[in-house]
Subunit: 207 residues, 2 copies
């Protein structure tokens, strides 16, 4: 069976960089939303992924009354969203079947449960997340710390809602992951090397 | 500065075994409650540790009104408990100063914060914890699963209360740790080897 590592992460915690570096260290394939979109186009897997909603706007597409009434299934917007998610799960499963890989985001920890992934949640304290966001996105330099904190919390709230809605899992709850890594004040390069060694022994020693 | 690893753990998650094996792998000193008691005796550090309350009964010794009234400081039982804790912190600091070590329990993650420990929280799902408890304590074979779950939850609740009370930290909240490890269904031996490699790179790469 393929060795799968899933990375869920708080916005600004460096989870994506950690995933990329980890893929390099281990020689695993690497997928995130952008790459999945490209793949879908190349594979002619339909236009579902290119139509997929930006993560930040996801919650807005879910009718507020969802979960309280079955009539929601008659909403075209919701039908479309559910369809996108089912298709997304199918693509993830095909990729997981293909070989060892690292998947960042997309609720992969829950969606690929039957592959027993090494599911990792990456987080950091707010100070580190602000510093990372400022470093990575100089275009946001006009934002005050307060505005930045609001944005960071907003993205995470949408991620949590998306995951809860599509998989039933509680985003960020350590019980749903094999490993949670706090990146505060530490170089991602070091953590990626450490995690790569952890993963090697983890997969070699699995029952 | 010494390299310190602290292990906090859910009852039955294998955290203590993980700590011991990790100490062997890394060649670090290993301390838990039993060993600290022995050390205290040898060092003639007074009788405070031998008087210390068993973890399970700790909460019972804290007056219920603590935190709501300063009059609590006049309670002899509480004065004694606070004294024990201050002494415990002093001993932990002396040990941390002495050299690389692993400390299991005792709220060490928070108490030794200035050493920037690799603070690890070890947890598992209830099924794994029951299985481990049955394996380790055959004398509890008469307990039903339900009774065992109650005991496990009780020990953890007391640990949480003790840590919250003595350090202000929220026991088990991933934000208070550098790493959280889910041991469910995995051999502790494997996880110890993986964590040892993680720790080596972590300490070597710290800023």
């Amino acid at each position: 069976m393929s060795k799968i590592i899933t990375i869920s992460r708080e916005f600004g915690s460096g989870g994506r960089e950690l995933g990329k570096r980890l893929a390099d260290e281990l020689g695993f394939a690497y997928y995130d939303r952008e790459i999945l979109e490209e793949l879908a186009k190349k594979e002619d897997a339909g236009d579902w992924l290119s139509q997929s909603l930006p993560e930040q706007n996801f919650a807005a597409a879910i009718p507020l009354h969802f979960g309280r009434s079955f009539t929601v299934y008659q909403s075209t917007a919701t039908q479309q969203t559910v369809k996108l998610m089912v298709a997304e799960q199918k693509l993830l499963c095909r990729l997981a079947d293909r070989g060892n890989c690292i998947i960042v985001g997309r609720g992969a920890a829950a969606l690929l449960e039957q592959w027993h992934p090494l599911s990792v949640f990456v987080y950091a304290d707010m100070e580190s997340k602000i510093a990372r966001c400022r470093e990575r996105a100089p275009e946001s330099e006009h934002l005050s710390d307060r505005e930045m904190i609001r944005q960071i919390k907003q993205v995470d709230a949408h991620r949590a809602k998306r995951i809860q809605w599509s998989t039933g899992a509680k985003w960020g709850d350590r019980k749903g992951y094999r490993l949670c890594i706090n990146t505060s004040g530490l170089p991602i390069k070091t953590l990626a090397a450490a995690l790569a060694d952890y993963a090697r022994i983890y997969f070699a020693g699995e029952k």
